[in-house]
Symmetry: C2
Subunit: 356 residues, 2 copies
Amino acid sequence: MAKEKKSALKEKKGIQAPESINTSSIDKLKSKRHKQPSAEDLISGILKGDMTALSRAITTIESKNPSHFEKANTIITGCLPHANKSIRIGITGVPGVGKSTFIEVFGSHLTDLGKKVAVLAVDPSSSLTKGSILGDKTRMEALVKNSNAFIRPSASGDSLGGVARKTRETIILCEAAGFDTIIIETVGVGQSETAVHSMVDFFLLLKLAGAGDELQGIKRGIIEMADLIAINKADGDNIKSAKLAKVEFNRALHIHPKKSSEWQPKVLLCSALKSEGIEAIWEQIQDYIHQTTKNHYFKYKRSDQNKFWLIQTIEDHLKSQFFNNSDMKLALEKQLQLIEENKTTPFAAADYLLKL
Amino acid sequence: MAKEKKSALKEKKGIQAPESINTSSIDKLKSKRHKQPSAEDLISGILKGDMTALSRAITTIESKNPSHFEKANTIITGCLPHANKSIRIGITGVPGVGKSTFIEVFGSHLTDLGKKVAVLAVDPSSSLTKGSILGDKTRMEALVKNSNAFIRPSASGDSLGGVARKTRETIILCEAAGFDTIIIETVGVGQSETAVHSMVDFFLLLKLAGAGDELQGIKRGIIEMADLIAINKADGDNIKSAKLAKVEFNRALHIHPKKSSEWQPKVLLCSALKSEGIEAIWEQIQDYIHQTTKNHYFKYKRSDQNKFWLIQTIEDHLKSQFFNNSDMKLALEKQLQLIEENKTTPFAAADYLLKL
């Protein structure tokens, strides 16, 4: 019952165009909720672009209640033929880089161009920190009120794999609901970048011009993933250091071998706060889509990502099935101890554990 | 029978101090071989530093004949209490960088200092290319004849995991035989670096000064693994470009965040051909051992590596058990096809395959 309440609350949070929601509409929703719309209702709602249906369907996907799994699968299967028609953009950057402001301005720029923009997030830590990113929608005031935008905080979950799965499935629903641009935000720490990189077409890394050593503290591999680096807050007194940072990052980009997309990532300056440089970033993304569609990399990458998630899901399952039981955990500890004592090798220990 | 012959041949190749081997000693070996020395014989031989016993024991480890597995395990277990007392150095670099010459000169420098040096290789491709590295021992003439050195070509195998396992086990045997410095060579391409990096204490990257863009073509992640970069062939007309390359690589090294070893990798110049700069490289390695012993990273890393190999071996097994059967391969292809056609998602496909 407590769970039910929590999920209703979440759904409420997920509803767009909050200005149109007054107490009575929530009441209506509540009474409607008792009827539990069927998977078919939700699918037809989504295909009509009904944001309430979309929100409720996502809540079903995110539910940990096993009785919702089948319904979730039916919804996804029903939406699938209408999916895959968007551009998926990943955006990452360390806390403080101004991701929320950037997405607010960037997303509004896109809706001004007639795009329909969904903003999702992957943040496996959000269940602990109670939603560190996109949790506070007030940071995206304009976008929240924008009827061509849909913002959904990160699914919560114990594992990155679980959160990533729910986000991938949410992308399908958003695409079926007519969103042609999907932005997926993630924090610039931890392994979530790799997961997001594996579900988007284009990966944008937001950076700041630091005071000193510009490149310190960049997580290994993140620069390699970037299709574009945008140095945010390049305004006022920051401009000089931002230009210096641009040189440094350009050099860092050129260290790495050419990508299989044949795309050469660039470094751009921008100021989300002053709405500067946003158009140039969107132009880069369009160039990328154009180039990779032409050389077929776009399609190849999506197909490769599908394969990646299929294999990854199976492997995650096999591993957790093997390791996640208390007997095995004890036995594993014991073997590690024996290895430390030079009484067995990692390989002999593995053979032993596999025979248990 | 054909296999038997091949393995005898390999063993012959593995015997050290070839000048002492004449036809009669091979005959003796052959007749001795019919008796099949027991695991206990081999262990006691290894502990006495008998190179023939060591070679034969390694051949047993490398054997694909299931009847040899138990014997191999007995030998390893017997050697274990005497292992773990060496410094393990990984050396990588693209073909043409002069690895063989470097190891020849570096290894001879170490034996001159009273060290006992074993040179192993990890090259999963060697079964295809018939041993591209360390295959031709004539490239290490001095070291081959050196009674304080032991050279063993890469184990052959279908998978990197298999080759890596055999090499890890061979390290144990070499250490038990009294070798205090283990050099593990690998080629600068493919994933074998990661495997070697996970079995050594110190990772040396050999580079060349290129004509133009020094950093082009560096495999992702290799620079991050390096505890030292040595630019080889820094002699004659090359010196100027080698010095330029040093600046470039130093910059590349500083891009990356500080290692958990707290070690700051350096770039040195050397010329294996002229025996220049070799001592400075050895000094770096000693400094590293000193520093990481003091901050306990040395011990931590070995323990971490053991855990890595234990988990890795189990995971590899689980995966191959699941995927390596023809029914599953067909079903997997089918599901991938359905994903392409938007009829299922990678996650639903995974769920389906896991239930088969």
